[in-house]
């Protein structure tokens, strides 16, 4: 067990290094010399050389990478070209806001999808099953940012129940999950975000529960006279660890994939930060945000894997 955890952690290290190489390379994917954006048009050859040396662009690329990596490891992700603020600070503030909506979305999705998936598996082939299956196909086929627009049209434009965009007058600092005046701003983004995980968690719950229900021990339980509710409880308990793992992975996807939804609702999280960076061609912010999000995704997957091994005694990974 400990052995497995150590190996799994060791395996995540080269992946993370690969991620840093990818993020470093993003600067070179951008058209044009990364320096030209920093320089005035009439810069002399001397100035150019000076700035090149100051930013470390005069060194060979592998050395540049190592320098960049060293700085990134100490929490220095460079400066935003647009605002001149430290990228790490901007990402940190945005990250908190993204965590708020993705946590809420994944909890909502899990609650709804687990119940619906279990019902669908129990009434295999029935009306409930068909409804659940249709909802899950819709969940993965719908452009979720469009779904967000539709929710805005219904609840903000027509009914005027909820605000359409933003995070409330207080912004990040003034937001409190205990006050309706802030929470109402999060409701539509959370609903929109939950759409895809509802579909995916429901699908995996349905297949996990129906697999357990088809096993021999369920027959035995019924044969010895156990009530249906108790049988179902057995099935749910057996299916739970796998579904929780799917939920964990979905959380990682939501954290990293929030750009469209945050853009729709102008929710000031990492997605909005990315969108701003793209509009302003602010490569340091783009690079830093993507690095942090990808590393979080790697960590989430790692945590899910380890937790699953710890929770489910049947998984013995040598």
């Amino acid at each position: 067990m400990l052995n497995y955890i150590l190996r799994r952690v060791a395996y995540a290290i080269p992946i993370s290094l690969g991620v840093t190489i990818f993020c470093f390379a993003l600067v070179y994917l951008a058209p044009g010399d990364p320096l030209t954006r920093l320089l005035p048009d009439d810069a002399t050859a001397e100035t150019i050389a000076l700035i090149k040396a100051a930013y470390g662009f005069d060194k060979p690329i592998p050395i540049q990478y190592l320098n960049w990596l060293g700085r990134a490891l100490t929490g220095d992700l460079g400066q935003s070209i647009q605002t001149n603020r430290a990228v790490a600070d901007e990402v940190l503030i945005a990250l908190g806001n993204t965590i708020i909506i993705s946590t809420a979305a994944v909890i909502l999705a899990f609650t709804l999808a687990f119940v619906m998936g279990t019902v669908a598996a129990y009434y295999n082939g029935g009306v409930a099953d068909r409804v659940a299956t249709s909802v899950s196909v819709l969940g993965v086929s719908i452009p979720n940012y469009w779904f967000g627009i539709v929710l805005i049209i219904i609840f903000a434009v027509n009914l005027r129940w909820l605000p359409a965009t933003g995070m409330g007058p207080g912004g990040s600092e003034g937001f409190s999950i205990w006050e309706w005046s802030s929470v109402k701003f999060a409701i539509l983004p959370v609903l929109t975000m939950a759409m895809v995980p509802i579909g995916i968690i429901m699908r995996s719950t349905r297949s996990a529960v129906s697999e357990v229900l088809s096993q021999d021990f369920v027959q035995t339980l019924r044969a010895k006279g156990m009530g249906e509710a108790a049988v179902l409880r057995h099935a749910v308990r057996n299916a739970l660890p796998g579904v929780l793992a799917v939920m964990g992975l979905q959380f990682g996807y939501l954290m990293g994939g929030s750009i469209l939804i945050e853009t729709i609702f102008t929710w000031p999280g990492t997605g909005s930060l990315l969108n701003q960076a793209i509009l302003n061609r602010d490569i340091p912010v783009l690079q830093g945000t993507i690095l942090v999000l990808a590393l979080i995704f790697v960590m989430t997957n790692l945590a899910v894997d380890i937790l699953q091994t710890a929770v489910d005694p049947r998984i013995k990974r040598g």
Binding site: S16, P31, V140, S141, I142, P143, N158, T263, I290, A294
Partner: protein, 302 residues
Amino acid sequence: MSNATTSVPSGLDAGGLDQLSPDVRSYWQMVGFRLRHDPVTLFFGAVILFVILAAIFAPLIAPKDPTLTSMIDRLKPIGYKDYLLGTDELGRDMTSRLIWGARSSLLMGLMPVVFALLIGGALGVIAGYVGGKTNMVIMRIMDVFYAFPSILLAVAISGAMGGGMLNGLISLTIVFIPPMCRIAETATTQVRGLDFVEAARATGGGTGSIIVTHILGNVLAPVFVYASGMVSVSILLASGLSFLGLGVAPPTPDWGLMLSTLRQAIYMNPIVCALPGVAILITSLSFNMVSDGLRQAMDVKL
């Protein structure tokens, strides 16, 4: 045996179908038989065909020029004058723009998947067949790309390279290469050690000919089924990129781009603003349903 002509539910297993149709012999005949008797898949296949035809014959079908603006007829509702589905924020005919928009959406949905299937599939077969260090290098590089949620990877590459359709195509292709590679690698590794491949090698078959005649046949089905499911993902991602200003550039009609430019008008004409999303939803849903049907018909477990 007499009920061979009755409709067969798509979930029917292979054994049941053998009894229903004694004439069906080969694998592909069986797949064809199952698909012909699966009304749901046929229906959504017809929808896809409809969208494809609309895209091909857009210049003939579209009632108006999709880029023709009108200062007077801006954001008109459905059915206004001869604008069947209303007009957009620049007074362009929505019907024509939606029809023309099928072109870029289908292109961006299909091309990255096809390219990724070729590149990723080839890499996977090589990794699986050669094994050893080659396998390790290829698969570890793929693992790095797995460390990104797909939309983040697409945004990262497109965002760094800048907008435009070509950059969008490249970034989406890169997004789909790793999963294709992994599936092809798994399928190849499973087949590689089997007796018939061993026999082919023993009788003097070269690597190339063994891969073409023995490996590909077994890799194709899972890769193809997986790829068909990715088309819907690709359509959603591509329209998302366009929505962010990273994909197709204006004034080209594109569903994702239309959603983005119409967003400012949701207070004035919400229904018309929602139309491009309906088009994306219908297309992506159809590809998903057909992919599900194919998976069942081809009896592939992914």
